[in-house]
């Protein structure tokens, strides 16, 4: 039966119109604008000047470096902690949903609000974190006001925020593992360690791959949490600037949209590349 129900387009019309106007067009436009100079109301073609500019701009490289460092540190650490916690809740705890509810709380709350709270917890003088560190005689750095600590502060906050989503997704995946696997393993006298590495982990590979992709994409877009932690700044002296910060700054503050769009294109390519690389990697692991 070959039918072509044209009325389908009618139902799809709102979605297609909005998607074309606010998703497809802006991608093309961003690409076009990355070759244009001048201000928003007076754009002119400048060939590759914007790209030349950002590649020669130390601030751009700092933003990229920070973003990549943030991604490669916070994502694996956050994921490892999440796997550990999800496994403990799944394996050992009776009131699973209570812990699930608790750990998921940060996901629904505003990054700005909770970032403000962390600004106090991180405060060098009267912050709770340094109070605890001092009480066990550990060094108490100035998390917010020391440029050397900016990235570390952002990473800690990022890990804290990322646990919520990861744990809930992992719990869902753990619940989906066929309980017979464990029953049979028990029959053969497998240890807890064996069960974890031989059953749980391989079964979790697709979920971990999914989380890795989501987390990496999320990490490359980091903006709001930096803004919240440093009160609208990108850390002292821009020490914690990120790719989106750089784009926002060039677009809105400095008023060079072309430069911002060139940076956007580069960011987009990095995200695509990271996703692609990570998928390839996970496929390899899945095959073994």
């Amino acid at each position: 039966m070959k039918t072509n129900q044209k009325k389908a387009w009618l139902f799809l019309a709102p979605t297609i119109i909005f998607v074309t106007l606010f998703s497809i067009y802006p991608i093309l436009r961003a690409f076009g604008m990355s070759f244009q100079g001048g201000s928003l109301i007076d754009l002119n073609w400048t060939e590759l000047n914007n790209y030349k500019y950002i590649f020669n701009d130390p601030e751009f490289w700092l933003a990229i470096k920070n973003t990549i460092l943030y991604a490669v540190i916070s994502v694996p650490v956050g994921l490892a902690i999440s796997i550990m916690l999800a496994w403990i809740i799944f394996d050992k705890v009776k009131h699973k949903s209570l812990f699930e509810t608790t750990f998921f709380m940060p996901y629904v709350t505003s990054t700005i609000a909770i970032g403000i709270v962390f600004r106090y917890i991180f405060n060098g003088d009267y912050g709770m974190l340094n109070f605890l560190l001092r009480s066990v005689h550990l060094p108490a750095p100035d998390w917010i006001d020391d440029p050397a600590m900016s990235l570390a502060t952002i990473i800690i906050f990022g890990i804290w925020t990322s646990l919520a989503f990861n744990i809930v997704i992992l719990m869902g995946a753990l619940r989906n593992i066929d309980p017979n696997f464990y029953t049979i393993a028990d029959m053969y006298g497998a240890s807890g360690k064996d069960k974890f590495w031989r059953i749980t982990m391989p079964e979790l590979v697709p979920t971990i791959a999914f989380l890795l992709t989501m987390n990496i994409i999320g990490a490359f877009k980091i903006y709001t949490s930096v803004y919240a932690l440093f009160n609208g700044q990108a850390g002292v002296g821009n020490s914690g600037t990120t790719a989106v910060f750089y784009i926002y700054n060039k677009f809105q503050i400095v008023g060079t949209p072309g430069v911002a769009m060139a940076a956007t294109v580069i960011l987009f390519l990095i995200i695509l590349f990271a996703t692609f690389l990570q998928r390839k990697m996970m496929k390899k692991i899945g095959e073994n």
Partner: protein, 274 residues
Amino acid sequence: MKRIRLSVLFSYVILFIFAVITVFPFIYMILGGLMNFQETTSIPPTLIPHHFEWSNYAKVFARAPFARYFFNTVLTASVTTIVSLFNSLLGAFAMVNLRFKGKGLVQMVLLSLLMVPGEAIIFTNYNTIAHMGLLNTYVGLVLPFLTSIFYMYYLQSYFGSISSTIYKAAMIDGASDWDYIWKILVPMSKGGLFTVGLLSFISGWNSFLWPLLVTNEDTMRLLNNGLSAFASDAGSETQLQLAAATLTVLPILVLYLIFRKQIIKGVVRNDLKG
């Protein structure tokens, strides 16, 4: 036997520590919002305020138009939720129940658009909205978010699980597509729609970068932008900042605690996005 118990104990300790790390900032926020200034900045830090300063909240409302921020946020989050749900519903219906030329192409384009980070297009969208003269308007705040490819996919999976014979039977009985959507599809996937609605509302409530771009008048700000501006203005008055943060977080936290099952279930179903 003893070794196993020790490992269980160890697991519980880890779990407990992380649970405290997760919950503590919320507790500190709520308590800090009720302290006086000296208490929030004392060394060693105070945890329980000596006397609950409820007047902090009155001060927050007096200093900045938080009531207005609430109104703006509820309005824009509700409108984007309702309209995008409606649009996604229609689109998902067409993709699941109708056959047409180009369906594969539409599916493919939409799927690949899911990969595009919002931050990559938000600035050019600003440009579009500015050209339309919609800066500092409610329309400008909601327009780019009136449809959601993601929610459409989400609903597609719901609708796909409803047997197509029901659709065929409805057609034979002379029902129109519109009838089918409202009399069968919607009631049968109420749970899914509600969950998507909740998630959409929460993300609308927490939105930050877009409203920061398209509004600069105080009266048009949303909660999070108002809050961050307030935090900068109230600079040294830490207790007021924490009270304002509590105001922003508490409504959504209450919503979450009421509907936590649906919200968590909805997020877990996310897996189809991968």
